[in-house]
């Protein structure tokens, strides 16, 4: 994927760029809003990571507003030290697709950026999801693995649906909290781990090959392990 990073903090930028490159992405970086706007408008990117506060007269919000005014729909993830609820709302209203507050874990950033680009592509109406031999029918709301039907609670169904829509990608706890439970804060209790382990009992335990993997220090991933 081609990713544009607009970030003026040198350390944060080099850390992000390095990480994204290691994850196999092509990365362009600029440290001011003017160049950022120029590059975003003139080249094709799969995603833009955008700082809110930028030097050079054009801050992140204005950059994005200008971009959206030109009908450019490249997914944008805000990366900002402005972490109050109002700031987040402003960022999303300006056309941002996601908002991550500094300080952040790189795994969280990577997972969210990858999720964004996926969302950009697969937004068509799907009725059926499949990962390996695990299948989900969104119309009849039924799940089966191989020949066996699996009974899920409504919330477990939504959890699995989220994981399947992001199959092959790391999904963090925060993403699950936001995407499945509409929680926008971190509860002190490890609620997600408990629910994941429940789900695992149902979809993995009775079968040979596990599909739901824990990614250390990051989150979870649903995928078929290549032998």
């Amino acid at each position: 994927m081609r990713i544009l990073v607009v970030e003026d903090d040198r350390d944060v930028a080099s850390f992000v760029v390095k990480g994204l490159k290691e994850a196999g992405h092509a990365v362009e970086h600029t440290d001011n809003g003017r160049d950022g706007l120029f590059m975003a408008a003139s080249e094709n990117f799969d995603a833009i990571i955008l700082d809110r506060m930028l030097p050079g007269g054009i801050d992140g919000l204005r950059l994005l507003e200008t971009l959206r005014a030109q009908d450019n729909v490249t997914p944008v993830l805000f990366l900002s030290a402005l972490g109050q609820v109002d700031d987040r709302v402003k960022g999303l209203k300006a056309g941002g697709d996601d908002y991550l507050t500094k300080p952040f874990a790189f795994a969280e950033l990577l997972a969210r950026v990858e999720a964004l680009t996926r969302r950009g592509k697969a937004e068509g109406p799907t009725t059926r999801l499949a990962v390996g031999d695990l299948e989900m029918d969104l119309l009849s709301r039924s799940v089966r693995r191989g020949a066996q039907k699996i009974e899920l609670q409504p919330r477990e169904f939504r959890l699995l649906e989220y994981l399947m829509r992001h199959a092959g990608q790391v999904v963090t706890r925060t993403m699950l909290l936001e995407g499945v439970w509409d929680y926008h804060f971190d509860p002190q209790t490890n609620v997600i781990d408990v629910h994941i382990s429940r789900l695992r009992q149902k979809i993995d335990k009775p079968f040979d090959q596990p599909l739901l993997h824990t990614v250390r220090n990051a989150g979870y991933m649903l995928r078929v392990e290549e032998p």
């Binding site: 972490g83 609820v85 300080p103 439970w181 804060f185 509860p187 002190q188 609620v191 382990s197 429940r198």
Partner: protein, 491 residues
Amino acid sequence: MSHRAQMAGTDGAAGEPRRLRPFIRSAGVRFAVAYALVFGVSAFILAFSIWYSTLGLLQHQVEAEVRADEFGLLEHEGMGGLGALSVAIANRMADAANVNAIYLLVDPTGRPVVGNLDSWPRGLTGVQEWYELPVQRQGVASVALMRATMFPDGSRLLVGRDVQARSELRLILRDALIWAFGIMVALGAFGALLIRSLFRRIIQDVAETTRAIARGELSRRVPVSGVGDEFDELAVVINDMLERLGRLMDGVRQVSNAIAHDLRTPVARARARLEDAALHAHTPETMSAAIERAISDLDGITGIFEALLRISEIEAGSRRAAFAAVDLAPMLHDMDELYAVVAEERGLKLDSSIHGPLPVIGDRQLVQQAVANLLDNALKFSPMNGVIRFQAQRHEQVVEIVVADRGPGIPENERARATERFYRGEAARHTQGSGLGLSLVAAVAQLHGGTLYLGDNHAPDEPNTGLRAVLVLPANVPPPKFVASSLPRRG
């Protein structure tokens, strides 16, 4: 242009008014002048009324006497003609009681017949009218109040009284009143000065106190005289305000101390880990383990910052702009589902009863976070096999969300402080947590115009009491209509 006009105005006002202005600007002087004015005017009115009533009374008395005298004499004339009248006048003049009486009978040519005036006074021309004129009385000049009567033959009778003494009295009275007025004005001025100094003293008390506080002597208070007057009232009000400000500042100081301490600990821990790793880690594995733990310590610090920011954001009330009418019931059902599994995992039971609809005007996310904090606490403090009750229902005008556990609870004397930032009860001292959870719940309650109640969780069949936290929020329902059937039962 108006600016120039203003300039000209101030220039014009140069000189004396400028010197006077600071004096007039003194509120004390203004009060004093007003006092002196009121005092002076009332003194003036008093003096004038004394003047008029005293002299008026005397005048009336004299007039009545003269009238009676004249009437008597005319009766004599009616019975015995002018001759009898002359005799009567002579008799009266001889009576020593009437030293001030004045009589004069003149014949039609104007020649005196009988009387004690040397001649008919000049200027007395009318009949049956009052005159006050200078007269010659046996060669002595005097002033008399008199009236005249004309008889058919042209003779005229004059009856009057010498009012020289009264005129003198008037003079004396006038002098006395002028003196009295002068003394009153002096007293008024003195009183005004007294008021001014009193005023200044009280203002000075307040001014000195506030000045001292501005200098940093925060414990200073306005002295209260104990008389219980308005100035005492003012002093008490000001002292109350200072007290409240002091408490707020203490709070801020406490929080900053707590921040310094609560953040210093994890910072110190992270630092120690990194330093230890730098010095002693011999394998890459121990090194990266140390770094990872330091990162999680730093995340903990970020968490504390976020919680603090959130609380102050809530307390500032800016979130109220995002309030909307919401039903909390679906959200609470979701939370029940989310936490029931966790409780089960830990060998606990979440006993829920959520009765919707639960309409409120508020911020769904904030209520969600508040309830999550209560549930987190309940999970954290519950003993094995404990039951956590999670209830929500509407009672008329309020929505009540209850989270009750079987943990150690919060002792009565700690409850008031339990919602303070960074406060950690005895029982919580050795558990994980920032001491911000209940602060946030209380702040959310307050933002919604509700309250957080902390109490004992009594149950008949259980020996343990735990904590019963009740989040009460105003319900979004029309105010009660007072028809007979819905009236609250009395007695």
